[in-house]
């Protein structure tokens, strides 16, 4: 079990308080104070589960803006393309589906990077991450991805087709 650290508590507090403000959307002193007290209690208990490594990584402007750019520009385009593909398959009568599970290597090293890539893959229709495996000898992480229409069985090419653009965008934020 990790120990609770001050930066982690501060970061958790900021997230909780931001959510409180978004959900109540009232700026009277009473509401804000109640929110601050509740967020502080939650942050004290939950910080060690919520933050595992450095707490302030998003304070770096380069990372912050590439994170924002990814979620606002790159990801919606990919999401749209994948959704249109899926809709075409479905309205075409689900005839030419060719499902399979492929193993693709990922360049990500950290837990957060792997989680971000696999969640982005799952979020685009047509691909679901089934399992994450680590190869201790090569120091690489592999994802097992269920793919609705297998076009490539070669791991590297399949990886490029599934997550090439997503991973390039996310590499600027996480390692």
């Amino acid at each position: 079990m990790q120990k609770t650290k001050l930066p982690a508590v501060v970061a958790t507090f900021v997230v909780c308080f931001a959510f409180w403000i978004l959900l109540t959307w009232s700026f009277s002193a009473q509401e804000l104070i109640a929110g601050a007290v509740v967020s502080l209690c939650v942050a004290l208990f939950a910080a060690r589960f919520f933050i595992h490594k450095k707490a302030g990584w998003l304070a770096n402007p380069a990372k912050f803006f590439s994170c924002l750019g990814f979620w606002l520009c790159i990801f919606p385009v990919e999401l749209w393309k994948a959704n249109v593909n899926m809709a075409k398959i479905v309205f075409g009568g689900c005839k030419n589906v060719n499902p399979g599970i492929v193993k693709v290597p990922t360049a990500m090293k950290s837990d957060y990077g792997v989680a971000a890539v696999s969640n982005s893959i799952t979020l685009t229709p047509g691909t679901i991450t089934m399992e994450v495996a680590e190869d201790p000898q090569e120091q690489r992480n592999y994802l097992y991805v269920h793919w609705i229409n297998v076009e490539e069985t070669d791991p590297a090419k399949a990886g490029e087709a599934i997550k090439g653009t997503l991973e390039k965008g996310l590499r600027r934020v996480w390692q």
Binding site: F19, L22, L23, W25, S26, L79, W80, N83, M86, A87, I89, V90, F91, G93, C94, V97, N98, P99, G100, I101, V102, K103, S118, N119, S120, T122, L123, T124, P125, G126, T127, I128, T129, M130, E131, A133, Y144, H146, I148, V150, T153
Partner: protein, 114 residues
């Protein structure tokens, strides 16, 4: 009037993709493919409706509070949905569910089933 049309276009996009997802759930041949189709509903299906709702609440109703709440709903769905579908798919696979038609490749079965 223009706002109403823009909102309706977003609603329509959302509904079309929700329809595609639902049809996919009914018509796809096996468990995992059905799960793939259901992602359509929870991504562009909800997002389209959420964006339309945010625009309508913010500009049509002048209610920042409602707009922010709709945006938070969309954000929370985007955060929680992939974790849910990942765990469902993994659980189904570990429980021994396999498609009737043989899969094109099955690297997971190759590496983990002995």
């Amino acid at each position: 009037m223009v706002l109403r049309i823009v909102c309706d276009v977003f609603f329509l996009i959302g509904l079309i993709f929700a329809l595609a997802g639902t049809l996919g759930i009914l018509k796809m041949p096996d468990t995992f493919s059905r799960m793939q189709a259901s992602t359509c509903v929870s991504t562009l299906g909800t997002l389209g409706v959420c964006i339309g709702g945010v625009l309508y609440a913010a500009i049509g109703m002048h209610s920042a509070s409602a707009a922010v709440k709709i945006a938070v709903i969309g954000l929370l769905i985007l955060i929680t949905n992939p974790i849910g579908s990942h765990v469902l798919a993994r659980g189904a696979y570990k429980a021994g569910i396999r498609p009737e038609k043989k899969m094109e490749t099955d690297d997971l079965g190759r590496d983990f089933d002995e």
